[in-house]
Amino acid sequence: MRSVERLTLAHLWAGFAAFAVACVLGVWQMWVRSPLTAPLSTPDHYYQSVTAHGVAMAYLLTTFFVMGFGYYVAETSLSRPLPGKGWAWTAYVLSLAGALTAAIPILLNKATVLYTFYPPLTGSALFYLGLVLVVVGSWIWCALMLIAMGQWRRDHPGEAVPLAMFGTTANAVMWLWTTVGVAAEVLFLILPAALGLTQTIDVGLSRTLFSWTLHAIVYFWLIPAYIAFYTMAPAEAGGRLYSDTMGRLTFVLFLIYSLPVGMHHLFMDPEHATGFKFLQMTLTVLVAVPTLLTVFTISASMEVAGRLRGGTGLFGWIRALPWERPMVLATGLAFFMLWFGGGGGLVNMSFGMNAMVHNTSWVTAHFHLIFGGTVVIMYFAIAYSIWPKLTGWQSPNVSLQRLQLWLWAIGMMVMTLPWHYLGLQGQWRRVATFDYTNPLIAPWGKWVVFSLIGGLILLLSAALFIYNLAIMHRQPARKATTSQSYALALHPPHHVPASLNGFRLWNAVVLVLMLLAYGYPIAQFFINPAPGAVVHRVD
C-alpha cells in the first residue's frame, strides 16, 4: 500500500467512525421526540446527544472525508506524488487530537451548546479548542492542495488542471474563506468567555460571524459529491463528461455564491436591517445556477453513456445505464433527493416564506435531505469506488452495496418527508419532548413515529455500510486494480481560459461581494456596540 492510500484510509475511517456513532444518537433523538418511551430520556441527555450528533456529522465526518478524499484526488488526478505528506500526517494527528479533545467535554455534559454554539451559552473551553485544532488541521490540508495544484501548473504551463483537482482546490480556497467567520467568532468572542476572560459576549456579532461560515460550510461538505458527479459517475456509467467547462463553472460559482449569502440564516434575527437580508437573499437565489448546471450536465453525460450502451428513444437511455454499479445508482438516488431537498431550500431562503418554517422541523428535514441524503450517499459511492484501489481488494458482494444505497435513500425519504409536513404544522426543532395529550399536538405523533422508522432504516444502512467497507480489507476478497481513472470530457479541455484554471479573479470577486454583503453588517457592531449578553456557562 502506498503512503497516500494509508493517509486516505486513515482519514476516511476516522470520519466514518464518527458517522457510525452519530447515526445511533440520531435515531435515539427521534425516539425521544416521539410518543414512544425512549430509554435514558431526559432533556439533558437529548441536548447532549444533539450536540454530539451535530459535531460528529457536521464537523468530523465531513472534514475527515474531504481531507482524505482531497489527498487521494491530488495524487491520482495529477499523477504525481502528493507534496508534504509529513505535513498531511501532522494535520491528521492534529485533527484527530482535536476531535478527541472536543469529545471529552461533550461526553461529560460540559459542552451541551449544540454544534452551532448558541452564545451566550458557553461550554468547556476544551470543546472549542478541540474544534479549533480540527480546523487548523484542515487549513494545512488547504495549503497542501494549493501547493499540489501550483506545482502541477508550474510543470504543465498552459495545460488545464484536471477537473477533479480543480474542484478540490476550489473547495480548499472556499474553506479558507469560510472558516474566517467561525474562527473569528471562536477565537475573539467565545474562547475568551469560555476561559473566563470576559463576562459578556456580543451575541449579534457572534451569530453574524457564524452565519458567514454557516452556508459555505455546506458547500465544503458538498463539493466532493459534485466532484464525483462530474469526474467519477460518467466514467463508471461508461460514458463521457458532457462538458468540462460546465464543471469548472460550477466549482467557481460555488466559490462565489457560497459566502455572501449566510445571512439567510438570520432572517428572523433583529440585529440586521432588511436591506442586507434582501441583498443576501438575492445572492442565495444564484446558488440555483450551479445546481441546475450540474443537473443538466450530469444528465447529459448519463445520456451519452446510455446511448453508447445501446439505449434509444427519448428515455430509453435511462434504462440502458448500468444501474448495478453503485456509483451510477448513487448518482440517480442523489439527484432524486436533491429535487426534494433543493425545493425545500427555496422556501427557506425566501425572506417571507422562511418566517413560516423558521426553527421548525422543516429546516431539519431540508438539511438532512440535502446533506444526509444527496451528499452522504455520494460519500458512500466514492468510498465504494475508491476502497478497492486503496486496499487492493474488491468487494465480494456488490449487491450488498446496492442494498445499502437503496436503504439509505428510502430511509432518508421516509424520515424527512414527515419532518417537512410536521414543520409546516409548526413542530419545533431541537425540542426534547412534546405534550402528545394536547389535541393540537397529538396528530403529530404518528408522523414522528413514521419518521423514526425511516431513522431505523438509516441505522441499518449505516451498519451495512461499515460492514461493506470492512470486508474489503479481508484477504479472501478478489484482487482489484489500484489505478484511478476519471471521466474524460466529450471535448477534452486542451486549452481553458485562465479564469477557469485558477482562482485569482474569483478571490477578488468574493472579496468585493463579502465587503458589500457583510461589510456594514459587521462594522455596525463596532460603530454602535450593543450591550453585551452575560456569558451563561453550562460546564
Binding site: 431526559t42 460540559k110 485562465a498 479564469s499 485569482r504
Partner: protein, 264 residues
C-alpha cells in the same frame, strides 16, 4: 484578470444582479413598504440600511404604559465585576453580626424555616438580598435587614457565603428518588407544562444565572417558597418561571420535592 469573455460575462452578470438587488432592497422595497405604513421614504431607506432602528415596513410601536420589572437586578458587566471584587473581611464580619442569628454559624441554618446559605452561589444570594432591599420580595425579618445594607455590603455577604464549603449545600447530581419525584426532577411533566427541576437547578444546566442551589436546602423553607410562588405571595422570579411551575404542582408534589431536596 478579465482576459476572457467568459469571465467578463460572469462578473458582469454578478455585478448587474448585485446592483439590481441593492436598488430593490435598499430603495424600491422600503419606499413601497414604508408608504403603506406611513413612513417617509428617507426614513424607510435609512431603516433598510440599518442606520436607523426599526423596520421600513412597520411603524415602531410606542408603549403607553411603563414596564414594571419583577426585579431591579440587572446582570450587566458592571454588576458582575463588582460581584467579583468583594471585601471579604466585611462579608465575614457582617455575617457574624447580622445573619448568624437565623442562618446559623457559617451559614448552616439551625431552623427549618430559614434557608442554609453556606455554599450558595453569590449570584443567588445577591439577587435575593437586592430584591428584599428594593421591596419586590418581602419578608418581615429579611426586608428591614436588607434595606439597611449597602450594595457593597450585599456583595461582600454574597461572596462570603459562596466561599464557605463546610455547609450543607453542594452541587451533587441527583441520583435517585421515588419514580414520581424522579420524573418531576429529570423531565418534568410536559402535559402540565412543568419543566424538570434539573433543567435549571442541575449542575451546568441552562437556567438563569441566579438560580439557587437547592440540594440540601431546608425542607420547610423549600415548601414555603413553592407555596408562596404558587399563590403569588412571592413574585420576584423573572418571567414567572417559578410561579408558573409552582402553581401547577400539587400540594403533595411540593412536599415530596421539598423532602427530596432536603435529604440530598
Amino acid at each position: 484578470m478579465l482576459s476572457d469573455p467568459l469571465s467578463k460575462y460572469i462578473t458582469g452578470g454578478v455585478a448587474a444582479l448585485v446592483v439590481a438587488a441593492i436598488i430593490l432592497g435598499f430603495v424600491v422595497v422600503p419606499i413601497v413598504q414604508g408608504s403603506t405604513a406611513e413612513i417617509d421614504p428617507w426614513t424607510a431607506i435609512c431603516r433598510s440600511l440599518g442606520i436607523q432602528a426599526g423596520s421600513p415596513a412597520r411603524r415602531t410601536p410606542v408603549a403607553k404604559t411603563g414596564a414594571r420589572p419583577v426585579s431591579d437586578v440587572i446582570w450587566d458587566k458592571a454588576t458582575l465585576e463588582r460581584l467579583n471584587h468583594p471585601n471579604r473581611e466585611v462579608g465575614a464580619q457582617l455575617a457574624q453580626e447580622i445573619c448568624a442569628a437565623c442562618h446559623g454559624q457559617n451559614g448552616v441554618s439551625p431552623d427549618s424555616k430559614y434557608p442554609h446559605l453556606s455554599g450558595q452561589s453569590a449570584l443567588a444570594i445577591y439577587k435575593q438580598l437586592h430584591d428584599f432591599r428594593s421591596g419586590v420580595r418581602q419578608n418581615e425579618l429579611m426586608s428591614p435587614v436588607a434595606q439597611a445594607l449597602t450594595d457593597e455590603q450585599m456583595i461582600a455577604l454574597s461572596n462570603h457565603y459562596a466561599s464557605l464549603t463546610q455547609g450543607t449545600l453542594d452541587r451533587r447530581l441527583i441520583v435517585e428518588a421515588n419514580p414520581q419525584v424522579d420524573r418531576l426532577i429529570r423531565t418534568g411533566d410536559t402535559a402540565r407544562g412543568i419543566p424538570g427541576c434539573q433543567s435549571c437547578h442541575g449542575v451546568g444546566a441552562g437556567g438563569p444565572m441566579e438560580t439557587p442551589t437547592i440540594s440540601g436546602q431546608r425542607r420547610q423553607y423549600i415548601s414555603t417558597q413553592l407555596h408562596n410562588f404558587a399563590t403569588g405571595a412571592r413574585r420576584n422570579d423573572v418571567f414567572d418561571r417559578m410561579r408558573g411551575v409552582a402553581a401547577r404542582l400539587t400540594d403533595d408534589e411540593i412536599e415530596l420535592l421539598a423532602r427530596f431536596y432536603a435529604e440530598q
